[in-house]
């Protein structure tokens, strides 16, 4: 991954210089365009509402103001609740999902497992044919009775066929001889999996765990479908969605801070909420991104 194709001894001719110039310019511009929108949101969240009304959103606050944040934090109940719900779903969902995905992935690549092709196809077929949204919605709400229950968000996100296939590819690189010799020593399949295989697959577990965790952290779809306004604390992204799409939501929380209706910072509060909801995760991002890169590479090459 690290070293690129080396050509030190060859002189730089015009074509090299052209390619490098295009490369550095294009990549710089694109990388910048990936960062700027976040700065727009951040800048706007720190601007006074009156300045936004006059000059629009901006990257650099013309009139600095922390008013939007003040209101967000004065009634922290909602956002603290949202954080708690999302952290809870992420931790539980990732742990349970990871265990199941790892176990299934391991079993499905064991050459001596006689049902492995049947089970693999059973799982894979779900990516080819689906019942669609309406029957799924009826199943969750009318048959499993999970409406307004956090399980309706937790359960559907536990695993995907893609993650199981990725785990399979990872485990395949561990020689089957390890399993075999442990079996000769009298170890059962569960013991082999827990004691031998799991410790050897930590990079895979990290990658798959991060995919799961990212899925739960950014989850808004099932929350929107299955959690009604009756639910006291909604997951973070649904909370953000409500703040963005319904001005009543902002007006309510401003009213709790005794802010008169005409002074409610409608626009800047959307941005401030987005920053509060996303900022802390952004700090994690540089630490974890290399695990994703690893996972995508393995998944793409062998999946």
């Amino acid at each position: 991954m690290e070293n690129s194709v080396k050509n030190r001894r060859i002189r730089m001719d015009a074509s090299e210089i052209t390619v490098k110039t295009i490369g550095y310019t294009a990549i710089s511009l694109f990388a910048l365009s990936c960062l700027l929108p976040f700065l727009f949101v951040l800048g706007t969240s720190l601007t006074s509402e009156s300045s936004v009304q006059k000059h629009g959103f901006n990257i650099w606050p013309r009139e600095f103001s922390g008013f939007a944040y003040k209101i967000v934090f004065e009634n922290p109940g909602q956002i603290v609740g949202a954080y708690a719900v999302t952290i809870g779903l992420t931790v539980v969902g990732t742990a349970v999902g990871l265990l199941i995905v790892a176990m299934t992935g391991y079993a499905l690549q064991r050459p001596d497992f006689e049902y492995r092709n049947k089970v693999s196809f059973f799982i894979y077929f779900t990516t080819l044919f689906t019942g669609g949204l309406v029957p799924f919605y009826l199943l969750i709400t009318q048959y499993l009775h999970l409406k307004d229950n956090y399980l309706s968000v937790l359960l559907p996100g536990l695993m995907t066929p893609f993650l199981i296939i990725m785990m399979k590819s990872f485990v395949r690189s561990i020689p089957h001889a390890i399993t075999e010799s442990a079996k000769i020593d009298g170890a059962g399949d569960f013991t082999i999996f827990l004691r031998l295989i799991l410790p050897m697959t930590t990079p895979a577990l990290a990658t798959i765990g991060l995919f799961l965790a990212l899925g739960y952290w950014n989850e808004w779809y099932h929350s929107m479908l299955f959690l009604s306004p009756d639910v006291k604390y909604r997951p973070l992204q649904l909370f953000l969605y409500n703040v963005i799409t319904s001005s009543d939501f902002i007006k309510n929380s401003a009213a709790m801070s005794n802010v008169p209706l005409r002074d409610v910072p409608l626009e800047t509060m959307k941005m401030a909420t987005a920053i509060v909801a996303t900022g802390p995760v952004m700090l994690f991002y540089p630490l974890v991104q290399r695990y994703f890169i690893k996972g995508i590479t393995v998944g793409a090459v062998k999946g």
Binding site: M1, S4, V5, I10, S15, E16, T18, V19, K20, I22, G23, Y24, I27, S28, C34, G56, F57, I59, I100, M103, T104, Y106, A107, D112, F113, Y115, N117, V119, I123, L128, F129, T130, G131, G132, L133, V134, P135, F136, L138, L139, Y143, L155, L158, P161, I164, G188, D189, F190, L214, N218, W220, Y221, Q237, L240, I244, K270, T278, Q289, T297, A300
Partner: protein, 317 residues
């Protein structure tokens, strides 16, 4: 194949039950996943029966009137089915083709750079949009495109142009949606191609350089042909999903009820969502889902048949 382990001697045929017992612990390991997919993926499938009835809530599934293919006929007559199919496929073709071209370009250019810190920083930044939720993508688009306060209109005004009414002009949305898609997926997608370039035989490139190949020739005649198989495989794989839409992207960019934009932005997923949550027309939503699943399945079979011809090792089944 269920071949026995080679080291074992040929064994007499055993009953299914013995086979089950022999594999019980591995089967047990798969059980949670089997139950999961059984409940959340297989149980809803018979629900597609909704597409053939005129579902109403009081009669429920079994006593609602059976109407055969009337729902499909309605979708064809109103033109909805054609519009949804066209939008979904056209967007996906744009996503697949432009997406891969941009990803390949980024991977090749990254490979040409020598400054390590630059490569690292650029990759980290380009990967960033992949990490954020669809909801935040929607807010960012609003931040830029809003009529009253958007950054775009601030820039347009300062340059002396009129403000653009983006959220009521359906014609610009194909560009916005495709650009947003590229913005979000390029960093992620280019990793695959970058890894493929890293896996190249470097001697090949050095030999070409000694023979006097310049940078363009190196890219054109060595790197691009090397990436071709990866490109073809990824292309065919994504062909299989050509009828599946990215609901989060469309829904959060366009909004649930901005119907003036629907002619150019409505895809199968958004239509089904509205049928369920806004219009409560369960049967019509199911009919569209049914059409999507069946048509999509045929496309996958075709794509797989093509993969088999191009590269048998990569075929799905």
């Amino acid at each position: 194949m269920d071949s026995l382990h080679p080291s074992l001697p040929a064994q007499p045929k055993r009953s299914g039950f013995q086979r089950l017992m022999r594999n019980r612990s591995l089967l047990l390991m798969c059980l949670p996943a089997i139950v999961f997919f059984l409940i959340f993926a297989y149980l809803p499938m018979p629900g597609l029966y909704l597409a053939f009835i005129n579902y109403n809530y009081t009669d429920g599934i079994f006593r609602s009137q059976f109407v055969g293919f009337d729902n499909f006929r309605f979708l064809v007559i109103t033109g909805d089915l054609w519009r949804l199919t066209f939008n979904t496929i056209a967007y996906n073709i744009a996503f697949i083709l432009l997406g891969n071209v941009v990803q390949i370009a980024v991977a090749i250019l990254l490979n040409e750079m020598r400054a390590k810190w630059f490569k690292k920083t650029a990759q980290t930044l380009m990967f960033l949009p992949y990490f954020i939720s669809a909801v935040l993508v929607g807010l960012i688009a609003y931040n830029i495109l809003s009529y009253d306060y958007g950054v775009l209109n601030s820039i347009l005004q300062s340059l002396g142009f009129d403000k653009a009414k983006v959220y009521s002009n359906p014609n610009v949305w194909p560009f916005i949606i495709v650009l947003t898609y590229l913005w979000q997926s390029t960093g992620y997608g280019s990793i695959v191609y970058f890894a493929a370039i890293m896996g190249m035989d470097h001697e090949m490139i050095e030999a070409a350089q000694i023979d006097g190949a310049n940078a363009f020739q190196r890219i054109r005649h060595i790197i691009l042909p090397w990436l071709k198989p990866t490109f073809v495989i990824l292309l065919l794989f994504s062909l299989g999903g050509i009828l599946r839409g990215n609901f989060g992207l469309f829904f959060n960019l366009v909004g649930a009820s901005n119907s003036s934009l629907f002619p150019t932005t409505d895809i199968i997923e958004t239509y089904v969502f509205r049928a369920l949550m806004t219009n409560f027309n369960f049967s019509m939503g199911s009919a569209v889902s049914m059409y999507q699943s069946v048509f999509g399945f045929l496309v996958v079979l075709t794509a797989n048949w093509l993969v088999k011809k191009v590269s048998p090792d990569n075929s799905l089944f």
